[in-house]
Symmetry: D3
Subunit: 160 residues, 6 copies
């Protein structure tokens, strides 16, 4: 049995993320989605809110579970028994950054990383752009880019 | 059981390729390495020579087999029952090209592609550079970059 | 009145090209699509075949005309009275090449270039991939990526 | 009549920006330059100061007007009746970011974006570098990179 | 006699930095390593701590000296009599940023910049990743990526 | 005394190349410019013609000499006693390719490579674009981009 760890901030989780989880759930026996708590940044949604949204959005996937991440990725991987880290890639500059992370993670723990390319029609969806649009009164306009639970939370947060 | 298809020209097969096969053989139940016959280019080694070298270099891997590839990658994938295509990535410009290929392959067949990052210490090894060095009398100097069988064939080909 | 010149090999013309022409025809009063004859390469379709396909595919656009290009782009621009060159961009490596071309064209003639980004869902469609798929018996599979006239010609050319 | 919207932080406006406005004013009937107010960042110059400098620097252009931007770019575009968004591009990493923005803007509003390449001899001028030099006592040294009104304000701000 | 200036934040100094200093010390008669004090960021190590670590790590190099940098790079270069600026490059996005800096520095002072490529096996070592690992209790794990004095300070800082 | 080797095809030598030689001649005691003979390509100018043009164009530089290159770069470096290889860089994709070459050259011989960035106002000048313009009757138009001897030869070759 092979387990993959898919770490991310997911602030918020969007359809590009969902596709990666879906593909990973087909390629591996189990997928653990790990939500990063970055103390240095103030997220739009708290760690708890993000965990709730992911839990709801990922109900259809039997072999996916969700954890909060308060350690280095490679240590979370060990804790959950992951054989490999899975990351989505959208553009070349993502790749350069993620390649360094992957090589660093291999150097300090031996764990490998596999990259899954995003679908072309969601390649422009980024959490930062979704936040920006929602904050300027456009929560309705990102409805086709995020799972229903995330759309609802964005509308609620911005009183729309 | 999950099978991965790893296509490439492998002209010649080098240690960067070997690492990708090794990682793929751990992540998937079976790996099929497919050697591309590109009628538009004159390779350094014939398709048969490349198949022989790969066969010898990949002896240690029980779950890896080698085929010649005379169709589109997605059709070979179907023929061998592959669930996914596996490609190695070294640099950002590789990524841009491979992302298009991956998205095209998904569009025409539904098959997904996963990318494995090369190890940092073999990131500069490319078949084109290995050929170039060997052709200018440097077959001995690429000994640490290719499997022994490839090193031997390079020395033979260039009478060294 | 402003006229834009859209040069390309169009071997073959595909839906990504079509989108660029469509957008250009909205932004400018007239668009001249110029088909490059590159004596150094053997195209899949002759210059005449490419002109015929473009003529048919671009019938819906009243303000678009098609010419063959046997001079430098900047000289064709002058001949057709173009105020600006229009190029589509898909990926970052396209950009680097096209930026140099644009700066060179400005240096030798003063003409400016504007870039139009491809739509995300056709970002993986490239003429080289379309040719490759069609040549390996997959003309039917690129039907959704090219105008009907191009799909018909591909099937014809490969006896499918 | 076609109107283009050119949004930016312009903190401060420099000669690379000026070239983009100049080219846009030739390609389109009207150009609206929109100055972004980003509440998350503390700019070097206030929104008001930036509007004043732009107003002075753009006096020579009859068909250019300047607005402050307190909404999403696509909403400002609608407010001012813009048919298209215009952005300058300097380097490949700019392109990757701007392509995502352009595809997102098209997805939520249907508006297209055109990119204008910077001139090669101003490709290294970035507002962040201009600020950095001026802050370390080098306001005089950026005199050739910014319009006179900006040079004067920089000298004033840093008491030089 | 030729002197090279090698500026950086060095927060902390790691083996990739060390290689650049080593190569520079062979190519030039004297190398001045300049530690940037960036008032806008809170570093992990104070300027004084970084100067101490560099001083110890660079003892083996007779022709290298260390200074703190409180001016523009080009002004520090003039103060120390440097003929050229030396920067290490790891990935393509580094290059794009450093090229702009280099062209800007030439424009305001005439000083040239040379780039030294990192070794492939340290290409993934970045100060930001080293800090991140150390902060999450992994100071021991970066021991092979930094000079002994830096490893000791990291362990001390994080009470490990 | 330090000697730098600057290898290239120089087909033809242009002002971007000239700037690199000029900077290298200031940074190193001696510069050897090595002209690559690539048997796989048909150049516009023969090796002999290229050597003649370089010899004339580089007369002003006392510490520069020119050789033909019929071996691997690292072997030519040894033959001429070079301590380092010098390459010019214009764009990020150049960097990715040259970084691999540099790391490969270090791996097989221990020799280091330094990169010199092109000047921003010649960043778009590439030999391939110069050839293309000259071949289409534009030899006069590249006069400002190449040394006088190269401009004369281009005019001569194309009977202009």
């Amino acid at each position: 049995m092979r387990t993959a760890l898919n770490p991310g901030s997911f602030d918020p989780f969007h359809n590009g993320h969902l596709e990666i989880v879906e593909t990973a759930s087909e390629l591996f026996d189990q997928v653990v989605v790990a939500v990063i708590r970055n103390p240095a940044k103030t997220p739009l949604f708290t760690l708890e809110e993000r965990l709730e949204m992911l839990t709801e959005a990922l109900v259809p996937f039997d072999n996916v579970k969700i954890v909060a991440m308060k350690k280095l990725t490679v240590d979370v991987a060990k804790d959950v028994g992951a054989d490999v880290i899975v990351k989505g890639l959208r553009v070349a500059s993502d790749f350069e950054y993620e390649l360094q992370q992957a090589q660093m993670n291999r150097a300090i723990s031996g764990i490998e990383t596999v990259f899954l390319p995003c679908a072309s029609d969601s390649s422009f969806i980024a959490s930062s752009l979704v936040r920006q649009i929602a904050q300027y009164g456009g929560a309705d306009r990102v409805g086709s880019m995020v799972p229903p639970v995330v759309a609802a939370r964005l509308r609620e947060k911005f009183n729309q």
